[in-house]
Amino acid sequence: MNESDVRSLLEIADDELILGWRDSEWTGIAPLLEEDVAFSSIAQNEIGHARALYELVARERGTTADELAFDRAPEDYHCSRIVELRLLDWEKTIARHYLYEETDARRLEQLKQSGDAEIAGLAAKIDREETYHRMHAQMWFDRLKDERRFTAALDELRPLLDSGREEHSPELADLWEEMTVVRRSQPAGTKW
């Protein structure tokens, strides 16, 4: 695995981690109880994908998935602007979900062609799970496409896809603070 591979993996892993973290905020307060359960699985899958990707990189770098996920400074994450936003309006959350899944599908297709068998294999596994996410996003898109607030959200968020990976918004720093507050309360290496 070369540095370029590692960088690609971390980009996806960081996107999935932060997006999963944001999506998990809906657990307990989603618009419909049934949807709450469905969307929570999507959030968990995203974190699960991040974990699997971090584990690949961790082996290369002699560290652990948790250390990669939590112990970097906010400016050292490689996630894109779109996942950093805290979006507590359902139309924006679904708009992001829809746009992200579209982009992510293309990215995964590329990774599936990787010369590294482990990377290609993991990408294929993740892609199979993402099929369900894409169906879910399409289902909601079909339902909301006539709503002005939804189409406005799509327009607002589309430019943020795959951008801002080098310069993060203050929202990421805030999220990182909250994500790591318990972990940072004890010395590095403490088991939780």
Binding site: L32, E34, E35, V37, A38, S41, M139
Partner: protein, 96 residues
């Protein structure tokens, strides 16, 4: 719309009623049923049916006790005893 969910735990087993959920249409119902009754891989398969498609049947009439086509309509003990005794007497008669 309310949908009823039937689940099969393992291949070969019957589908059993597992619960119900509210969904806008068949697509959402399928998605939600998978989540509620399969996110832990606990089901082999599901049948998801709109509640209104289900016909409930509860009223069974058997005023004249039609036990001729049930096992409890047959009591063979007495007849078997009689038949065995007859054979017993015949054997005794033959051996004299």
């Amino acid at each position: 719309m309310i949908y009823e969910v039937f689940r099969q735990e393992r291949k070969g087993q019957p589908f059993q009623h597992a619960g119900s959920l509210e969904a806008a249409n068949h697509e959402f119902a399928e998605s939600y049923a998978k989540e509620f009754y399969g996110r832990r891989g606990e089901s082999e398969a599901l049948w998801v049916v709109p509640r209104e498609a289900i016909i409930e049947v509860e009223d069974f009439v058997d005023e004249l006790n039609r036990n001729y086509h049930r096992v409890d309509g047959y009591s063979l003990k007495g007849k078997l005893k009689e038949a065995r005794e007859r054979v017993g007497r015949a054997l005794v008669a033959r051996d004299r």
